[in-house]
């Protein structure tokens, strides 16, 4: 069973990479490009689903590339966390691709220079997959770089002034984080003589605790920039909203979560100790609160969503910072939920922009009457993100709060209160969008400003014009509706899904099981060092 699954792991990376090459070759024929991209992503979804089922039933899959034995060769490791992430991101990337095909067809590819968009998007997919299956730090770095470089291209697509301006911020900030990551890898290699995650986990106990903390902090800062953890989140609300709607949706859903994924790996496999957990919890609280307050002060829907994105990263960091199996399980479920819901909301914002010609809630209204389907497609994920029962947002938050309460100290209870407050603030920000953009009559918009708009800030350099309703292509609505259905499915099938998350959490409770999956004897070859966690089991 595991041998056959092993074949699938490189496929998750190779399919989008080869497809990217093919779409470049057929660059002149947009139709062929679309078909290749669609087939590739459907295949990746199938690979992800098979991997998740196989890994959940039969345990982690380890592929030694070129049959070079670990730790001498490169290993690809797919445990439950990786498999779940591969599946969810493949689904999200497919939905966003369908959305952008719909938009491209309708706009005559004004916004998406056709020959570049699909190859870049597929390379982004490749990078995401490399990052999820990487079994060593350097491969993780390569995955990050692949996805970042393609994201640089996507965020500056078309080269308009506002995109270049936002792109420069994004690129420079990402570069700093990449250089920091690379430096951290060099330090880790210098201290431990390896970049293999499992081998690092075995050797880390041998070095002094202060060296450990330096390495730990360097990795956390590098990943914290990518995950947009406060105070390293400043760049996100400025750069994401300026990209084309589908690109923003994919970025918002996926890119920050890959940072969180890397933080989970660092916290569970490399540094399972609790030295930095209180600091991470404080940062989680600040991320939540500052992000939510930012969302409340914005008038532009895309910017509101970007700030809620930052604030909800705080929940995931909270789950990781608890350092328990329950906390990690809740964080894993929350990531799956948040990738889907945040992407859906950004796609819905794309639909709103199309229907109303703007995304500023001070200038649009009456959408409930003019576009009831868009209203529904916005309303369900909005309630979901706000954590209203019975949606998956509620289940994820409930699990997180239970894990936090189990911790039982004062800091945990402060975070519990903060989390509940932030969930209310998120709901407030999104319900205000609902009130103004959907419930408010179109005639009220001209009559003057609502009291709800008293303290909000317009997006800077907002040059969008109310261009009146354009017809929304079927594919755009269909892919958004598909994502809403996926988000509802996360609720309906919460039982089995949370089961997977729980088992993933148990798997990541200390580095023991991760190490055992790569070195079945619990030791490195030619070594007698056995880490204590492995012996404990």
């Amino acid at each position: 069973m595991t041998a056959e699954l092993g074949v699938l792991v490189p496929l998750a990376v190779l399919i989008p990479l080869v497809a990217a090459g093919v779409t470049l070759v057929v660059g002149r024929r947009a139709r062929a490009q679309r078909i290749v991209a669609l087939i590739a992503l459907v295949a990746v979804v199938l690979v992800g689903a098979t991997l998740l089922m196989g890994v959940d039933a039969g345990g982690s899959v380890v592929v030694e590339v070129g049959s070079w034995q670990a730790p001498f060769g490169i290993v690809l490791v797919v445990d439950r966390l990786s498999a779940l992430m591969v599946l969810i991101s493949a689904i999200v990337l497919l939905a966003v691709l369908v959305f952008s095909i719909g938009q491209g067809l309708a706009d005559g590819d004004d916004e998406t220079p056709v020959s570049i968009y699909y190859p870049t998007y597929l390379i982004l997919t490749t990078g995401v997959m490399i990052a999820f299956v990487a079994g060593d730090l350097f491969n993780l770095y390569v995955g990050f770089e692949v996805l970042l470089v393609s994201s640089y291209v996507l965020i500056t697509l078309g080269g308009t002034e506002s995109r270049i301006r936002a792109g420069v911020t994004y690129v420079v900030v990402s570069l700093v984080s990449s250089v920091l990551f690379l430096t951290a890898i060099a330090m880790v290699y210098g201290a431990l003589g390896t970049v293999n995650l499992a081998q690092i986990a075995i050797r880390i106990a041998d070095i002094p605790i202060d060296t450990q903390i330096v390495l730990h902090v360097m990795l956390l800062v590098a990943f914290g920039i990518k995950a947009a953890v406060f105070p390293l989140s400043f760049w996100l609300p400025d750069s994401y909203p300026s990209a084309p709607a589908p690109v923003t949706a994919a970025f918002a859903g996926l890119l920050t979560k890959i940072g969180v994924y890397a933080i989970i790996r660092v916290e569970t496999v490399i540094f399972p100790g609790e030295e930095l957990n209180p600091a991470l919890m404080v940062l989680a609280l600040l991320t939540m609160v500052v992000g939510a307050l930012g969302a409340v002060a914005q008038a532009d829907i895309k910017r509101i969503l970007s700030f809620t994105l930052v604030s909800h990263i705080g929940y995931m960091i909270l789950g990781v910072a608890l350092g328990t199996a329950e906390g990690t399980a809740a964080a894993v479920y929350y990531i799956a939920h948040h990738i889907v819901v945040q992407t859906t909301l950004f796609l819905a914002a794309g639909l709103i922009e199309r229907e109303a010609g703007s995304t500023s809630i001070s200038r649009i209204g009456g959408l409930l009457a003019s576009a009831p389907l868009v209203a529904l497609l916005f309303f369900i994920p909005a309630l979901n993100l706000g954590g209203i029962p019975p949606f998956s947002g509620f289940i994820g938050k409930l699990a997180l709060f239970q894990a936090t309460a189990a911790q039982g100290d004062a800091l945990a209870y402060i975070l519990l209160g903060g989390g509940a407050l932030v969930s209310l603030l998120t709901l407030y920000a999104l319900v205000r969008v609902w009130n103004l953009a959907f419930w408010r009559g179109a005639d009220e918009v001209e009559r003057g400003s609502s009291r709800l708009l008293k303290h909000v800030n317009e997006a800077p350099l907002d040059t969008s014009t109310i261009s009146g309703a354009r017809t929304t292509p079927f594919l755009m609505t269909a892919s958004t509706a598909g994502m809403v259905i996926v988000s509802v499915a996360l609720t309906v099938f919460a039982g089995p899904l949370y089961g997977v998350a729980e088992r993933a959490g148990e798997n990541l409770d200390g580095p023991g099981r991760y190490v055992l999956s790569i070195f079945p004897s619990g030791t490195e070859p030619n070594s007698t060092d056995v880490i204590e966690e492995v012996l404990d089991r």
Binding site: S115, V149, T156, G159, E161, V168, T183, A186, M187, T465
Partner: protein, 163 residues
């Protein structure tokens, strides 16, 4: 592990100069800073290989494993150099585009920050549709390198499509 002190000092100086340059407003300096910092990180990787030894190719099976140079940092280094190179190329393109659009490579003050500082609300600029001409790389009539025959731009121009 023995390290060459010269290389350590060079690395530290590269890091310091690079970080200083990256904090500047001018984008060209930011790129130069990135190049320095990237090279400093690469130097750090190669330093982590430890003392130099014989080439890591097994020709004499009797040689002790400790006598070989550690080959892994060199593999990592090559990958890192390629990545740094590609990203710098992209940054240069970005700066060029930014310069073409604004004729300056400085980073503007953020409109939101300015508004916050002066206490004024940002008034949205109404009805200034983005200039379509700036959204595409149109061929520059004075620049012979731009309209290379066979490229997409050249074809569009040939077909007489104007925006």
């Amino acid at each position: 592990m023995t390290l060459s002190l010269t290389l350590v000092i060079v690395m530290a100086v590269l890091f310091a100069c690079g970080i200083y340059l990256m904090l500047e407003r001018s984008l060209t300096r930011v790129v130069l800073g990135f190049l320095l910092v990237g090279n400093a990180a690469n130097l750090l990787i190669i330093l982590m290989a430890g003392a130099q030894g014989i080439a890591p190719i097994v020709e004499d099976p009797a040689a002790d494993a400790d006598q070989y140079t550690d080959p892994l940092p060199q593999a990592l280094l090559l990958t890192a150099i390629v990545i740094t190179f590609a990203v710098s190329a992209f940054m240069l393109a970005l700066i060029y585009r930014s310069w073409r659009l604004a004729n300056a490579d400085d980073l503007d003050d953020d409109a939101d920050d300015l508004a916050l500082r002066t206490g004024a609300q940002v008034v949205p600029v109404e009805e200034t549709a983005p200039d379509e001409a700036t959204t595409e790389f149109l061929p520059d009539p004075l620049d012979p390198t731009e309209a290379v025959p066979g490229t997409e731009v050249a074809e569009r121009t040939e077909r007489g499509e104007t925006r």
